[in-house]
Symmetry: C2
Subunit: 291 residues, 2 copies
């Protein structure tokens, strides 16, 4: 059994990006520049944006956080986006979600220039991804695909089960793994809350991507010997330790890891790959905007 | 066994649309107006555009065919689209494919205003459809969904196999049938040229959508008793009759119809539903543009 070490791989990718940025700057060009819009003062959003700023700093990107009060109107926010869309100094643009209730997330996302949409949430990027054109793929699926690629996981003709049909993980994963590409060319089955016989379906899978958000849903009896298991879940479960909790994935790790050929740990698997995916997209956007 | 009679249902839908158009016109408003761009003089394209004009006429839509020679430059074509995008009299806009090789189909499709894109080919429409937002769905998948709805086919929790992963049929069908909706909520498996054990996978399916373009691919032994079978294929096969050919689907009809609970014939199943879907979208676009 081999651990798919997202932490290690994400550090390698950061190093690669950082070297590219050094070369850009050495050539006298400005570094990629991520602008993040943060509305209100939600604690979790503050933390996420803080991580993004830190990650940018570490690879040499410029980053700007534009903070607006909860009271900002949708119109004001949209005009801010229009301004950033045409600001040549901003190469990537994200809006931290959730937004206050009086603002339509959909209107905001659709206002972002798809070529700066490094979160990959704009429907034009989703549509390009689904139809096999170059696109910004959202962070978690992009991170998973990259992890599979770096470990050389065989995918062509494999039976793959995706547990979950969310717009940010399950659905893009299913579309990516069924396309004519590597990683891809899988026979993909998407299971969700309305599916029957999930255990039986999983037991026939060569690759399982678990993204239901149900702690330890996937147990040993649901997995065949040699399966590749990607665990997207991450839930805080009360524990008798210093933090008072531990992080648990959608996979019962001890049981499943005994049968799997490759498996992601939680934490240290998909999480760090998701984080680094935003940096990959920001670099990609830089070349799109600058060239 | 019940025949899913696309011909009959499509005529019912045309009647409904035609009544809506009468009411629009009676209220003193202009009828919906489909503009179709036709480049060059490909015989098949001429035929398709001719059908579309006829269909429009039958339901009371206005339609305009804009013809351009093969020699038109991409720039000229794009500026024509920009003009039509902002022409308030044009409520739906399509570009008949294929285009001459010197013109990027992708650039042309992305130039169309997504709110007039009644073919549903713009990536923003694909992305909206995939993420569950209101969208123009391309004609064949939209026609199939409508047919399932009109016959009240049960879909929630059913195992559905989609044969084929094309951008215009297989992929949208898989996304639509797995969404949280009716028809939908299926456990969907997408099979394609790289899939193994297709026969076995199909034999477990409650619903099969065959869109491989391989005549009589799906045989009786691949289908379980009571399955719902949708045949998207339509291939001309040499025959000893007046036309010199007959139309054959992806399903071996005599064998499969003996086991199926519902099945589409070829011709007269998915084909007419595909044709009427463009009219449905054109009416929808009319309300989007006019309100």
């Amino acid at each position: 059994m081999i651990i798919l070490d997202g932490k290690k791989i994400s550090m390698e990718i950061k190093k690669e990006i950082s070297e590219t940025v050094k070369a850009i700057v050495a050539a006298g060009k400005p570094a990629p520049h991520l602008a993040a819009i943060l509305v209100g003062n939600d604690g979790a959003s503050e933390t996420y944006v803080g991580h993004k700023e830190k990650d940018c700093r570490e690879v040499g990107f410029r980053s700007t956080v534009l903070r607006f009060p909860d009271s900002i109107s949708q119109e004001e926010l949209l005009s801010e986006i229009v301004r950033l869309n045409s600001d040549g100094e901003v190469t990537g643009l994200i809006v931290q979600l959730p937004l206050p209730k009086h603002i339509s997330e959909r209107a905001v996302i659709e206002a972002i220039n798809p070529d700066k949409d490094v979160d990959g949430f704009h429907p034009a990027n989703v549509g390009r991804m689904v139809t096999g054109f170059p696109a910004f793929v959202s962070a978690t699926p992009d991170g998973i695909i990259e992890l599979m690629k770096r470990y050389g996981i065989e995918t062509a003709g494999k039976n793959c089960v995706v547990l979950g049909r969310s717009n940010i993980v399950g659905r893009p994963m299913a579309n990516l793994l069924s396309r004519k590409a590597y990683p891809g060319d899988c026979t993909v089955t998407v299971c969700h809350s309305r599916s029957r016989n999930i255990g039986e379906i999983c037991a026939g899978a060569d690759i399982i991507v678990a993204a239901l958000g149900v702690p330890e849903f996937l147990t040993g009896d649901m997995v065949k010997e040699g399966a590749v298991v990607i665990d997207v879940g991450i839930t805080r479960v009360k524990a008798d330790n210093r933090n008072g909790f531990r992080l648990v994935g959608d996979v019962k790790f001890d049981e499943v890891s005994a049968k799997a050929s490759f498996i992601t740990p939680v934490p240290g698997g998909v999480g760090p790959m998701t984080r680094v995916a935003l940096l990959k997209n920001t670099l990609k956007a830089y070349y799109l905007i600058k060239n």
